[in-house]
Symmetry: C2
């Protein structure tokens, strides 16, 4: 089963992936924050039973995962950063290709997501609905005819939907224009932020654009606005790329080739530097101005794999600061 | 005829080349500074006639050279930086392999040098003596039985000899220890400085160690002290290399491979950056810790060829700032 991030659609254009996330709660239990351990065990079992058995899903008990495993899952967008430091009774169901996952007993009883490569929100939506319907056929969701799906935090109430695109916007980041965009798209109930959720730093020019408002609009309206807004964001990044090619083509090519030269030769490299260079390289491919051979995996896949958790998981051991930088450089060279 | 700097001996160790320079003046003429144009023409002819004809030498009238040609000759150590801005009647005789050159009517009537690849001061000395004897057999040198050879500046009087080694000392430069060495070898009448003569900046960790005192010691004594002092300088650089390998091998390897990655990929590069990276790479080869393929030419040859004059001469036209950096990067890529 090929991982979603191994699909070449994640590497061809500004849009890396499309994501649908739904928040749901089970009617008969209090929200997670008020849930007793005994009820939590029962609730987690109810959801697991509603979903399983499924050959293409893996079930993980969060409290049995090592901190390295949790970190790697977070880096791969399977679990949220909040889960890293939580001791709640909690399970995660993950599709083997990592395209779908269900966190049980996180902020809400059920937080499920589908991530599809490239620009394919409908694909992610359809896949998500299938799972959502399946669970709903076995449990009663907390639903109010006026408010819609009820959630632990009111900002998710209504559709419980967070639809998003993951975008590579290195030039909007470098020029600082990303700030204008945050402001502009806010008016449409949309937001743009780092890929590990609220308050996280942008990482290698990678952002997620998503709806901020979950209530008062239908799911299809939300997705439609997201698509329109994203088109405009893409257009602005494309204009910057064109301008760069027109006015400073050599500097642009130089940055791409230097990135390639360093990534394929370094013996030691920090995550920050490597990510910035991978971002330069990806921009080179997206802009189409260089004929450089592509690495063995997609750039975004490599960006995830050079992070601390994923790197340690791959090595099968904990790594100290310098060891990490050396392993990261080794892995990067193996990709070129 | 293979140029001296294409000999692999320039690339194997700390010593790049060995140089002998002699300053001589013709008895019947005033020193260059007091020479009339009419006498200058006559004196230049006398020396040329004493030397020529020789199939392996090229004669150049300095005032007929373009400024690019003069710059390239200076970068290749054929003429001194002083000649660049001089309008004196002056000729240069250059052996086609660039290992020997004679400047006529520079600071002294005759300034002749032999540069031999690697550590071969005797080779350079023997070659120089042959030329010196040949000229002396045709003209009367200004010589005083007490003072020795008379020169325009008293700092050259006596032997008129400047014997030197060109050394690659990147770690003594980086650690700042080069300053201690300047002080220490001064006591032996020796000096260490940039390769384009007095007051020039060190360039890519490259220095020349030479005698400062030309009087009161015989030529063989001067060369003997130079050899001893140079052994000690080399030893200090080698100790720093060993220490670096022992304590920070990965950083060291990293710097070498990154240098290689950038030099072989950049699309635009300044002379300063390229020289620093070539220096890192050369240190990698000299230390023997990396198995990287060597460039098509010796590093020092490349270091000369990326300089502004040599680059423009190779391109056959004048180049503006950015064009230079682009041509330099092209040339560097062609070397890997």
């Amino acid at each position: 089963m090929v991982k979603w991030y191994k699909d070449e659609k994640t590497d061809n254009d500004i849009v890396i992936s499309s994501r649908i996330r739904l928040a749901r709660n089970i009617k008969e239990y209090p929200f997670s924050i008020n849930l007793s351990d005994a009820d939590a065990v029962k609730m987690v079992d109810d959801v697991k039973n509603a979903m399983l058995p499924k050959d293409d899903f893996i079930v993980m008990d969060v409290n049995e995962l090592s901190s390295v495993d949790k970190l790697a899952l977070m880096e791969h967008h399977i679990i949220s950063p909040e889960v890293l430091n939580s001791f709640a009774i909690s399970s995660v169901l993950m599709k083997k290709d990592e395209s779908m996952s269900i966190m049980i007993n996180e902020e809400d009883h059920v937080r499920m997501q589908a991530i599809f490569p490239g620009e394919d929100l409908s694909g992610a939506w359809d896949a998500m609905c299938e799972i959502d319907d399946e669970i709903e056929s076995k449990v009663d969701y907390a639903f109010d005819k006026d408010f819609g799906y009820l959630t632990s935090c009111p900002t998710n109430t209504g559709t419980g939907l967070r639809a998003s695109y993951m975008l590579h916007l290195p030039l909007l980041q470098k020029t600082g224009q990303i700030k204008d965009i945050v402001y502009a798209i806010g008016k449409f109930g949309m937001t743009i932020r780092g890929i590990y959720g609220e308050g996280t730093e942008p990482y290698g020019g990678i952002y997620q654009v998503s709806n901020q408002v979950t209530m008062g609009k239908s799911e299809s309206e939300i997705m439609s606005i997201l698509k329109t807004v994203t088109e405009q964001v893409k257009e602005r990044e494309r204009k910057l790329i064109e301008h760069l090619i027109e006015t400073r083509r050599i500097e642009f090519e130089d940055s791409i080739y230097r990135a390639y030269g360093i990534l394929s030769n370094a013996r030691k490299i920090s995550g920050k530097e490597a990510t910035a260079l991978l971002s330069d390289l990806r921009l080179g491919y997206v802009s189409g101005i260089v004929g450089l051979q592509k690495p063995k995996d997609n750039i975004y896949c490599i960006m995830m794999n050079i992070q601390v958790g994923s790197l340690q998981k791959k090595e099968g051991k904990e790594l100290e600061g310098e060891e990490r930088d050396v392993c990261r450089a080794e892995y990067l060279r193996s990709m070129f």
